[in-house]
Symmetry: C2
Subunit: 226 residues, 2 copies
DNA sequence: ACTTAGCAGATTGTCGACAATTATAATTTA
DNA sequence: TAAATTATAATTGTCGACAATCTGCTAAGT
């Protein structure tokens, strides 16, 4: 399991509840569009409303719920428009991350990333199509590049604010399936560009990579919706 | 005064306190880098710690404070690295906003924006160098384009999460001064590109516009720092 | 003299209860 | 019968107090 980049030791009740609700929403256990009842959730997770509200504030921050004053909170509803908006930003920012990573990543980090990618590739060949490892590997790849950008705000936006929502789309729309081997090739090409300190190329390749992923999801979404 | 785009009627004590603390931090009344004392602020604004903590959560969201569990919150410290990180993202996302605006803005909205720009230009010529109107006009321009993108997350990131921090840099580094008339010309060119539905050009022009602004600030920062 | 252990003070995290607002349902009226 | 209105119930926002944790200082030990 890959954990949140900004790690505030998860000892507080608020952190624990946040993690549990995040998972529940992403997994659809708390349905999209449903209303959030503070007393109910407080009972369910055995905490007072104070840490629960703290958790809700952070859930709003990563766009998993929407709150209106004096009226409560609702889990976000998934839509094709929302998905497109999300990917529009992701494409742009992950491209930027690549450009910055090509500039700021240490050689050591790049070598590490290469080693890890090969390792994931081997695991992948063994467990063909096992979606968990695939996703974990993919995530690790993207995370490392984003962190390699050394841009605090970029890291925060992509890994804290948009990540869980993307995960929610993937999980609830059943985005397992193939597009694995090609993704691996694309990953390798991107790393190569970063290793060559070719930020522009890495940017371009990453945009295409994300764009392909988006296309893949949109098609799957169309087949589903109608 | 231009108010936050997502307007949650500011009746709650939390909203009121949030607005006051935001202003105090941006203006430097609560110094950058200083520690936040919950009891002290609660007394100062005559509220309990509950709404104050709600406000602190939102201040963390717009990067004006940094919290560590069980250790309290500090006002962020300004740095050239932070400023650069901020502008790297702003450049990218405002460029994206232009591209999307060229695609999604209604003719009516574009016409409105043009009218408003001319009006601001007149006001500008009358009150030569009056920084408030200048900034208000500049802000209005950028806001309209960002909203024109019709991308919820983009709007949220730029107008809610990064705006106040940029404002803090501008205010505390004393970014008044000229670069006015040229900025107006750049604004006109960007609007023209959007009116022509030329997203790529609008993107390019906006990136240059933001980049020029960043350059301008960095120079002023260098002259100051040493 | 410097490091380390322990203690006092203050601060943050959490709790339960109350007040203000909103949503729901029953009731009345056109 | 349908719309408007009032009353009730539930939910959210806020408060003050208690418990857990951290910070800074004192004091003992090497």
């Amino acid at each position: 399991m890959i954990q949140s980049p900004v790690w505030r030791s998860p000892i507080t009740a608020s952190d624990r509840v946040l993690a549990e609700i995040q998972q529940a929403i992403v997994a659809g256990e708390i349905p999209a569009g449903s209303k959030i009842s503070e007393p109910e959730l407080a009972r369910r997770f055995a905490v007072s409303r104070a840490p629960l509200r703290e958790a809700l504030a952070r859930l709003e921050r990563c766009h998993l719920i929407e709150r209106t004053p004096n009226a409560g909170a609702r889990v976000v509803t998934l839509s094709t428009a929302g998905l497109r908006s999300l990917y529009e930003i992701r494409e742009e920012l992950e491209g930027l991350a690549c450009r910055l990573a090509a500039e700021h990543m240490a050689d050591e980090e790049i070598a590490d990333m290469r080693r890890l990618l090969d390792q994931h590739l081997q695991e992948q060949r063994v467990r063909e199509g096992e979606s968990y490892y695939q996703e974990a590997g993919d995530l690790d790849f993207h995370y490392r590049i984003i962190f390699g950008s050394k841009n605090q705000y970029l890291i925060n936006i992509l890994c804290d604010e948009l990540y869980y929502l993307m995960r929610m789309y993937r999980v609830q729309l059943g985005m397992n399936g193939p597009r694995v081997s090609r993704a691996f090739d694309e990953h390798k090409a991107i790393i190569q560009a970063i290793a060559n300190r070719d930020g522009e190329l890495a940017d371009l390749l990453m945009r295409r990579h994300v764009s392909a992923s988006r296309h893949h999801i949109e098609i799957q979404l169309q087949q589903m919706g109608k």
